[in-house]
Symmetry: C2
Subunit: 169 residues, 2 copies
């Protein structure tokens, strides 16, 4: 049994009431949300975002650094003028260091030079302080020459045990 | 009026019925979904994914290449064994080339060397053929030495006008 086998019936149910085929490409609220890939995060329902309103960029940790390519496309080609960065409690990124993950992957493929070279080339972008990591990501965007001047930047923490968001910057 | 001002009331409504504070960190369906940041995409509702079931990685285009860091963390630290890559119709990534976006950003900041250097350093990962781009991304993951052997890989297209998904690989 693969998880993707559930996608077809899940999608058929969605299509049976779908009436949003007319929405335009640019996000109507001109905002991009950056958040984590975590399975307990569902940005649209947790923030009251409706279909067509916001770009949603997600990766391990909600890294603004990795999101930069997407943010530039979002601003320059699709008109967004606001970026909201969310990290969250109990994040996996708080549990390891680059060295630990590099070592783990290499230990799982002993003597495999291709694996060793590939994993050592990756900065997995872990962090050790939750609120600080949000502030650093917002600072990264604020100081980046590619962000449009006047971009509305905010930083937030989502609590996976209470469902609550809190603004930190 | 900023879009983020709507997040607080939207989140308060969510919190008022939230009862999922007990969910564990690893995704229960052991799957990672890679898809686009597009505002018309809402993976959970469109695929019938419940909170806690799947990692969701999103970026401009749904690039598996950019998602690699997150996929490795998803597999090695959080136990997923399946990756489903979704691209979609009417995607912004079909509308430009790297050269065009590089030129546009530089034209918007004439004579700014920092902007020119920063933008020229980015491969924006545009594509010109939708289904082909899905196949290429799945192939990239299949051939990557960091993906676990036996990973269940699938590739899909989501149609933003009908709400339907279709498997292409």
């Amino acid at each position: 049994m693969s998880a993707h086998q559930d996608f077809i019936p899940g999608n058929e149910l969605y299509v049976s009431t779908f009436d949003k085929g007319h929405l335009p490409l640019p996000p109507s609220k001109k905002v991009a949300v950056v958040t984590c890939m975590d399975a307990r995060i569902e940005p649209a329902t947790q923030l009251g975002i409706n279909l067509g309103e916001a770009h949603v960029i997600r990766n391990a940790g909600g890294s603004a650094k990795e999101a930069l390519r997407s943010v530039v496309i979002s601003q320059r080609l699709l008109g967004t003028r606001e970026v909201a960065v969310f990290h969250h409690t109990d994040c996996g990124m708080l549990t390891f260091t680059n060295e630990q993950l590099h070592d783990k992957v290499k230990a799982e493929a002993p003597g495999n030079a291709a694996v060793a070279a590939a994993v050592d080339a990756i900065d997995f972008l872990p962090f050790s302080q939750l609120e600080e990591s949000v502030k650093e990501d917002v600072k990264f965007l604020k100081e980046n020459p590619l962000l449009l001047e006047g971009t509305n930047l905010t930083g937030w923490v989502y609590d996976v045990t209470t469902g609550k968001v809190q603004r930190v910057v």
